[in-house]
């Protein structure tokens, strides 16, 4: 398996601004490897370190120790981001731009030619079903439409690796289904998708492999069936792995 994304003993510490508080460990020696063409689910409760891992992978936060690589290139080098697409959680794109202008802006940063832009942008707007709203300012978009324009911008460079941070967060069931269909389509095209989610049912249905992280430590990694094991479903396995004790019904 060719590793597209790899972390080695990744550790991130945040120093608290308050003097009496100790240093907070966000990630503690995380080892991950995601192969080409995989859909990889990255799970964990809130504050587990999922977004921090993505922030390190994308060069937003420097690791305290350890290293991270995309396509074998150290993530601190901007060239490592040439072949990736990223959808952050809850982003409010430039209100004064239209979806078409936003995609053109990002396409310019990737150095796409004018001909390529003219072909790729309508294609993406069709994929995320926003052709009808392409010339409307983003400020008039609903939350679901904003999330879809975010997905389109993540795909503008036809990336080999997609990093999605809770792509279905805040979407209605139809919106969630559409995002899931797009992820499935990307898998069929041979793309690698690395995404975090709290929707365990969704993860179970689309992911090849998953990793569960809790308090900055990797608790489990493997195929969905391997992790589920003797538990009824992924949710039960997840709760057991993070040490959640279910209260007996009175």
């Amino acid at each position: 398996m060719t590793a597209i994304l790899r972390t080695e003993k990744l550790r991130v510490e945040y120093r608290s601004r308050e003097m009496r508080q100790a240093t907070k460990v966000a990630l503690s020696g995380l080892d991950l490897e995601v192969g080409a063409g995989e859909i990889f689910g990255f799970l964990g409760p809130n504050g587990a370190g999922k977004t921090t891992t993505m922030n390190v992978l994308l060069g937003f936060v420097p690791p305290t120790s350890g290293s991270a690589y995309l396509f074998g290139i150290d993530v601190r080098q901007p060239i490592a981001r040439q072949r990736i697409g990223y959808l952050p959680e809850l982003t409010y794109y430039y209100k004064f731009l239209t979806a078409e202008e936003l995609l053109r802006y990002y396409a310019k940063i990737f150095g796409l030619s004018r001909a390529e832009m003219n072909r790729r942008i309508p294609e993406l707007l069709k994929l995320v079903e926003l052709e009808h709203a392409a010339k409307r300012p983003i400020k008039s978009y609903s939350k679901g439409m904003q999330q879809r324009v975010g997905l389109a911008q993540a795909l503008i460079n036809n990336p080999d690796l997609l990093v999605l941070d809770e792509p279905t967060s805040g979407l209605d069931p139809v919106g969630r289904m559409k995002v899931r269909e797009i992820i499935q389509r990307l898998k069929n095209e041979g793309k690698t998708v690395f995404f975090s989610s709290h929707e365990l049912g969704e993860v179970e249905s689309v992911c090849d492999r998953v990793a569960i992280i809790h308090q900055g430590e990797l608790k489990a990694i493997g195929r969905v069936a391997e992790i589920t094991g003797k538990h009824a479903n992924l949710e039960q396995a997840f709760l057991a792995l993070i040490g959640y004790q279910m209260q007996p019904a009175s």
Binding site: F60, P62, I84, P88, Y92, L97, Q153
Partner: protein, 258 residues
């Protein structure tokens, strides 16, 4: 360079899609047209007062546009989280800073062009002459001074997270430099050591924005400034823009953007 121009293009687009510029431009036109239509005290030189008021308004409006536009650039990107998808692309932080600077500076240039075109038309209609070389020197020096202010506000926006606090601090410091900065050497003479040395040091460190004030030259139709001094003033501005931009890049380089 294409990345820098892409970022700059969006900044300019933002300026002309927001209402700030139009509001200030229309207010300036209205005040000046009203002033031009009356002749207070029947003074034959009233056109000079009119030109002075119009230039003061242009200075104030462009200063407001430069500081408020620049101060919100990076904080707005952070607040709306658009900084994340942007930096997840092959765009370096230095390119982002330079793009933001270039966009804000060019936007100020476009604004100045509109204001000075209006000013030229207004004064030419009253004086029946158009000293193009004077206007060129005044506008270009004004634009370079705005370049220093834009670079300074950009550095401030990386230090102070809230655009409002950054804008307020910028207005206070720029106002202080404009009104007090030129007299600091004389103030130093009245002080004792070590305050004297500190004030002298401050006098030489701050950018002297008064070098770019050509309002009297335009108002009284004085001859143009020697071109050598004009060129040196531009170089002086470029030096300070560079200092503030390097500072901004150093601050932003290691800053976590999550």
């Amino acid at each position: 360079m294409k990345n820098i121009f892409a970022v700059a293009g969006v900044v300019i687009k933002e300026l002309y899609r927001r209402k700030d510029f139009y509001v200030l431009f229309i207010v300036t036109i209205l005040i000046c047209v009203v002033m031009a239509s009356i002749n207070i005290y029947n003074d034959a030189h009233i056109v000079r007062y009119l030109k002075e008021i119009c230039l003061d308004l242009i200075w104030l409006c462009t200063l407001v546009i430069a500081v408020t536009t620049t101060a919100r650039q990076i904080p707005a990107e952070r607040e709306n989280r658009t900084l994340l998808p942007l930096l997840a692309k092959p765009l370096t932080r230095v390119q982002l800073i330079l793009g933001k600077f270039l966009g804000c500076w060019l936007a100020c240039g476009l604004t100045l062009l509109c204001f000075y075109a209006f000013f030229g038309a207004l004064s030419a209609s009253r004086e029946h002459q158009l000293p193009v070389a004077n206007y060129f020197q005044a506008a270009l020096l004004h634009w370079f001074m705005l370049g220093i202010i834009v670079a300074f506000a950009l550095l401030g926006s990386l230090i102070f997270a809230a655009p409002s606090s950054n804008a307020t601090i910028c207005f206070v410091l720029i106002g202080g430099i404009m009104f007090v900065g030129r007299n600091l050497d004389r103030v130093a003479l009245t002080l004792r050591e070590p305050t004297r040395t500190i004030v002298y040091w401050l006098y030489f460190v701050i950018p002297h924005l008064e070098f770019y004030d050509m309002r009297d030259l335009v108002v009284h139709n004085w001859p143009t400034v020697p071109w050598l001094y004009f060129g040196l003033a531009l170089l002086y501005a470029v030096f300070y823009m560079g200092v503030f931009l390097i500072g901004a890049c150093l601050v932003f380089r290691r800053k976590a953007v999550n």
